[in-house]
């Protein structure tokens, strides 16, 4: 494995695989879900972020998607891989298992679903490697996992390994043949829609996520992100491919960035508490304090009480934003670490 050239993790549209040239690139990170639902008790981004933590999904789920047409020993049977994937991978797996060619494509679909709101970033091109593609395309953030309540969520991106793999029969566009995973293109490459493999329309078993009330799914921005996938695009990944066609922008984020952002909001919350909330809260005037100008007391006192409330809530909101970002960062990092360990553990299964 080559050393990362930089810390940045990038999810890009059109990713067709994972390459040692682009170390540790990961799927999209659902910042929004982690951020905007800090108050939703049942939603994705609980303040503690626990629910948003990366839920585990055996990468085999994604890998399994390719099994109908592939014979990759890497991807294996569903659920056999210890690698964590995203719910996207799960979705992709489900789609792929329907027999659509290209396990990688199934991974695409999975990404679209798992990212739940940022599925647009979970694109993968034809030939994405089952199992790996699932992880790559996943990128469902911790919050996403919580919001969907799916048991197989995780930041599949972390499940990547920097291994150039020839996966016989895994490629969606080259059924039965090995695919050399290309390097990740720097520009989004819409996946081809020429579905390889069976001519029979796939029977897509779309996941049926039931977002908890208030769960933060940005459905409008994620056409097909529900994991339904698009028939013909291979596995369940077509949906994500379409989002690339819609010109959805790239998400660039990393645990470090989130952590830094979270720390910044935390510092801001502390400054706000010390500089605003506390001094305002210490005010307790009476009409006597206004002497002959006692008529001015009531409107002042009313305003003071409102400012007290605002300042208290403002500081709390800044803390909530920090917590949400921190939860995303922590969950993301945890998943990355787990997946890294899992990837190393499963190393012997990967062909040299």
């Amino acid at each position: 494995m080559t050393e990362p050239r930089h810390e940045e993790r990038v999810q890009e549209s059109g990713v067709v695989g994972h390459s040692y040239d682009t170390d540790d690139r990961i799927g999209d990170l659902d910042i929004y879900e982690a951020l905007v639902n800090p108050h939703e008790e049942s939603g994705a981004g609980s303040k503690k972020g626990g629910a948003g933590g990366p839920m585990m999904m055996p990468m085999g789920g994604a890998g399994g998607s390719g099994s109908p047409s592939g014979s990759s020993p890497v991807t294996g049977a569903p659920g056999t891989s210890p690698l964590r994937g995203t719910s996207a991978a799960s979705a992709g797996g489900g789609a792929g298992s329907a027999g659509i060619g290209g396990a990688g494509v199934s991974g695409l679909g999975g990404a679209g679903f798992g990212s739940s709101g940022l599925a647009t970033e979970g694109l993968g091109g034809p030939g994405a490697i089952p199992g790996l593609a699932g992880g790559l395309g996943g990128g469902g953030s911790s919050s996403a996992g919580a919001s969907w309540g799916a048991p197989t969520f995780g930041t599949g991106a972390a499940g990547l390994s920097d291994i150039p793999v020839d996966v016989p029969g895994a490629g969606g566009t080259a059924a039965g043949g090995g695919i050399t995973v290309p390097t990740i293109p720097t520009t989004p490459t819409p996946p081809t829609s020429a579905a390889p493999g069976p001519t029979t329309p796939p029977v897509i078993t779309a996941p049926n996520p039931s977002p908890s009330p208030g769960a933060g799914i940005k459905a409008p921005t994620v056409p097909g992100g529900s994991g339904g996938g698009m028939p013909g695009s291979g596995g369940g990944g077509g949906a994500s491919a379409n989002t690339a066609d819609l010109g959805v922008k790239t998400v660039t984020a990393s645990p470090e960035m989130l952590h830094k952002e979270a720390q910044h909001w935390d510092d801001m919350a502390r400054d706000f508490e010390a500089g605003v909330t506390s001094p305002v809260g210490n005010q307790s005037p009476s009409s006597v304090d206004f002497g002959m100008m006692k008529d001015a007391f009531v409107p002042y006192d009313d305003l003071l009480n409102r400012i007290k409330k605002w300042s208290t809530e403002g500081g709390a909101e800044f803390s909530a934003i920090s917590d949400a970002l921190q939860a995303a960062s922590g969950g993301y990092a945890d998943t990355e670490a787990s997946n890294t360990a899992a990837a190393q553990h499963s190393g012997p299964n990967i062909p040299e």
Partner: protein
């Protein structure tokens, strides 16, 4: 249109004006005493003239009548002085620290709070402008930031209003003291001037003038300064009107008196500006402290020797 909520001009320091008021009253008292002494000294001559003119072997009432009329004038002068002094002592002096304390809340709390919010606001603005995060998730995150910016903007405005909420009354209360000091100090100089005035055959004229001046001061103190009528009350009314106006009571961003939450339920499509000014300092605020009565020495001619003639009523 102003770009920010107006607050009263910050005075570097505001201290109790009680020492100045006491000093002015002391000077006024000394001036009154000077008038009394001068009149009593002059009255010796007038009393003798009255005695020579109207008293015979069997009576000396003319001198008594002459001095009694003079005493009445002096008493009237001191009555007015005491009314002014007592009025200050009981009605105004208890508020000597109101202005300084409210001003201190303004400078030590609201000005500082505003200064603390400023960098936070600037920081959130900066974060909202960052472009190294892109994509749907980042967009959704940063889409919430303008709402937070607007909320901080409006909080800043409200902090400024709260500052005015204490600073305007502080300045008005201080203006009342300033007016009193101006009035008492001016009266002292005026009365002191009477003490040094040659009055000819008009006895107790100095005290009569002083009594007239002091009476006008008392009337102004009671009818204007302490009631606020025509002085600070209209300014205070305008202040209260602004503090209770809809621009203050109805927040545009902090609606429902609640801080907007960065949730997807928050309407971040077009956050309203919270930077609109909400308060303008009352127009007459800067002139209240210059209020003081315009006094004159009245129309009294004091006491003449003729006033001691038999049959003249004693004062």
């Amino acid at each position: 249109m102003t770009t920010s909520t107006q607050t009263p001009a910050i005075s570097s320091a505001m201290q109790s004006l009680d020492p100045d008021a006491v000093r002015a009253l002391t000077s006024l008292k000394a001036a009154c005493k000077a008038c009394e002494d001068a009149d009593n000294e002059q009255a010796k001559k007038g009393a003798d003239q009255a005695s020579d003119r109207y008293d015979g072997a069997c009576q000396d009432d003319a001198k008594k009548r002459f001095l009694a009329q003079g005493k009445a004038i002096i008493d009237d002068m001191w009555a007015s002085f005491n009314a002014l002094q007592d009025g200050y002592q009981t009605s105004l002096r208890p508020h000597e620290n109101v202005g300084p304390r409210l001003h201190q809340i303004y400078t030590d709390t609201w000005v500082v709070v505003g200064q603390k919010i400023a960098p936070i606001l600037a920081d959130v603005r900066t974060r909202a402008a960052q472009d190294h995060w892109t994509g749907a998730g980042a967009d959704d995150y940063m889409k919430q930031l303008p709402v937070q910016v607007s909320a901080l903007d409006e909080l800043t405005q409200y902090v400024a209003v709260a500052g005015a909420g204490v600073e305007t009354p502080a300045q008005l209360q201080q203006a009342v003291f300033t007016s009193f000091v101006t009035m008492a100090g001016g009266a002292a100089q005026q009365v002191q001037g009477y003490a040094g005035t040659e009055t000819g055959d008009h006895y107790f004229q100095r005290c009569a003038w002083a009594a007239s001046t002091l009476s006008q001061c008392v009337d102004w103190f009671r009818g204007s300064l302490m009631s606020g009528s025509g002085t600070w009350q209209p300014v205070l009314d305008e202040h209260v009107q602004q503090m209770t106006s809809s621009s203050v009571t109805k927040a545009t961003v902090l609606t429902g008196d609640t801080w907007p939450k960065a949730t997807r339920n928050t309407d971040a499509t077009a956050p309203r500006s919270g930077a609109d000014p909400k308060y303008t300092a009352p127009a007459g605020l800067g002139t209240v402290g210059t209020d003081a009565p315009i006094t004159d020495r009245g129309s009294s001619d004091g006491v003449s020797v003729d006033d001691a003639a038999p049959g003249q009523p004693l004062a």
